[in-house]
């Protein structure tokens, strides 16, 4: 049985600066993983490389044993890799519900074209029910007919995460989910993520600056510094690590 996510010797330079410098780590079991590090540690670049927004100069990335580092974004998604964006992206013109249903839709071109002139184009009942349940969990069901662009920033965040989860990914990467969210919504977010993890037993990788949030959520933390993995382990060990503290202070 191969690991769910395997990052091996990944490097990426920008004009001579090594943003990511031979990073290795493996995620073998389901769990909530935190990826942290001071500004400029290379977290975002690594995140982008895993999601396919940038290509690594060298190294390999495997999901469930399959190499994905040369695949395009949508191909990675179809292999069960989902993500959210730091800047929070939803389809602003569509309603909340349509956002979720779109995320659940089978987007293979041939299938889409075949369905275009089919008699029944409504989404399957199970998808509809799951969409309703998830939206309700984050308190968005009452805003389902509202265009996503009208929601508050925090609500859009929650919607984005619901959209990512409805496609049943095996690996969900969240890019700073806690940033810009008020404390009430933050608690809701934490509860929601914990509940989803309990239900689905998938891998959640969270890049985060909010230490309190990540430490309370993650079971395992990876710390990056100057493009390398500095330390990894359970939250308590990380919090006690001298090297980590030095990196943040230095």
């Amino acid at each position: 049985m191969s690991d769910i996510l395997e990052v091996e010797a990944v490097s990426k330079s920008f004009g001579g600066v090594r943003a990511v410098d031979g990073v290795n780590f493996r995620i073998a079991a389901p769990g909530v993983y935190g990826l942290i590090g001071p500004n400029g540690a290379g977290k975002t670049t690594l995140f982008d490389i895993i999601c396919g927004r940038q290509f690594a100069d060298s190294g390999s990335i495997r999901v469930a044993g399959r190499r994905i580092d040369r695949l395009r974004v949508h191909q990675r998604t179809r292999l069960g890799l989902a993500r959210t964006f730091q800047e929070c992206r939803v389809l602003q013109e569509e309603t909340c519900l349509d956002n979720v249903l779109f995320a659940a839709q089978d987007k293979r071109l041939g299938r889409e074209m075949l369905r275009t002139f089919a008699r029944h184009t409504a989404p399957p009942r199970a998808v509809m029910a799951e969409a309703a349940r998830l939206l309700d969990l984050v308190n968005l069901w009452r805003s389902r007919a509202e265009p996503a662009g009208n929601l508050s920033y925090g609500q859009r965040r929650l919607l984005e995460i619901v959209c990512s989860l409805i496609a049943q990914p095996r690996l969900l990467l969240l890019d700073e989910p806690a940033s810009g969210i008020n404390p009430t919504l933050l608690n809701m977010l934490r509860d929601f993520l914990q509940r989803m993890f309990a239900e689905r037993q998938i891998v959640l990788v969270i890049v985060e600056h909010n230490m309190e949030f990540i430490m309370s959520l993650a079971s395992h933390i990876v710390v990056m510094h100057q493009g390398r993995v500095l330390e990894q382990g359970p939250p308590a060990a990380i919090a006690a690590s001298r090297r980590v503290i030095e990196a943040y202070l230095g």
Binding site: H74, E93, F102, Q105, K107, L109, R115, T116
Partner: protein, 333 residues
């Protein structure tokens, strides 16, 4: 249950189809109006083609009359030299435009927004050069006279003769309605949703699993093919092909038809086509001063009616009938 963006009630659909089909009866006494309406339908088909791309996918192509020209010239040449009858010739023209669309789309679609606009403009001008310069094939700049109209169709109960004004109108109306329904089905389908996602946020669409390039290429080809169909119909209607009908000025005209009419709405491009066929007729003796005013009107429209005239008209009437809240709602349809 699922709220459908831009759903058209059956009543509106039937009313629209009836209005299209009954125009020959309504304007029986005025072949001139029927002639203009036929021209409108030809343009509306091309505009619907562009609307799929520009309105629903958010890709502004400035070279679409080139694809219309491919359809037009392929069909016209096949018919003029008796190499194919109407239906295969029209199919060949449509298909050829679609294929050229794929070939042109492959390099163009690697580029985004403004880059894409400029490169499609270049493609349109390159296609025009072929229409204008290949004297031995297309008749060159002097045009291709003597393109025949299709032969009569026997429908069992009646004979439709496209060589007569009413007959051609009915042919054009049928093709127009087919294309309109195609547009309707496409934009409401899952494929249409993926296109809408691409228009709103390409990066997000890709991360939701949409193969952005393949989707764009498909809609580009469909859009070019529909434009080709409209171009073919137009040339058969006029019975002569002229390169200038597919040149840069017409490209601009087409983009205006779609945007001014209301890009991304079902009826907007049809309204635009009606307006842009009617307007030059109303201003038949357009002096320079009126062109200045027309320019000012376009500028005002760009600044104050971001969703085009269709959006403006529907919002205004909605406001009259239902008060303010309805008008606000219509904005998202």
């Amino acid at each position: 249950m699922r709220p459908r963006a831009g759903a058209v009630p059956l009543a509106t659909g039937i009313l629209f189809a009836a209005a299209v089909y009954l125009s020959p009866v309504l304007f029986a006494g005025s072949p001139y109006v029927l002639f203009l309406l036929t021209q409108t339908l030809c343009f509306a088909i091309i505009a619907i083609g562009l609307n799929l791309l520009l309105g629903y996918t958010g890709l502004v192509s400035l070279g679409h009359m080139g694809f219309a020209g491919i359809g037009a010239y392929v069909t016209a040449l096949l018919m003029k030299y008796g190499m194919a009858s109407f239906v295969p010739a029209l199919a060949a023209g449509t298909l050829a435009a679609g294929i050229v669309g794929i070939l042109a789309g492959m390099p163009c679609l690697r580029l985004r927004s403004h880059f894409f606009i400029i490169v499609t403009l270049a493609v349109g001008m390159m296609l025009f050069l072929f229409f204008n310069n290949l004297d031995w094939l297309t008749g060159g700049a002097a045009g291709l006279p003597g393109v025949p109209r299709p032969r009569p169709f026997d429908l069992g109960f009646t004979l439709v003769d496209p060589r007569r004004p009413v007959g051609f109108y009915l042919l054009a109306a049928t093709l127009f309605l087919v294309v309109f329904v195609f547009q309707y089905a496409l934009v409401r389908s899952d494929f249409g949703r993926s296109l809408a996602a691409i228009r709103q946020d390409e990066t997000l669409a890709a991360s939701r699993g949409v193969d952005v390039f393949a989707h764009k290429l498909t809609v580009f080809a469909l859009s070019a093919a529909i434009a080709g169909l409209g171009g073919a119909l137009q040339v058969l209607f006029l019975r002569a092909a002229a390169p200038q009908s597919f040149g840069f000025a017409e490209d601009i005209n087409l983009v205006l038809i779609v945007i001014v009419g209301g890009a991304g709405s079902l009826f907007g491009p049809c309204l635009g086509a009606l307006l842009f066929v009617a307007l030059p007729e109303a201003l038949r003796i357009a002096d320079v001063f009126r062109m200045v005013l027309f320019g000012a009107a376009l500028l005002a429209l760009a600044l104050f009616a971001p969703r085009g005239l269709w959006g403006l008209a529907v919002a205004a009437i909605g406001k009259l009938r239902f008060g303010k809240s309805a008008a606000a709602h219509v904005g998202h349809s």
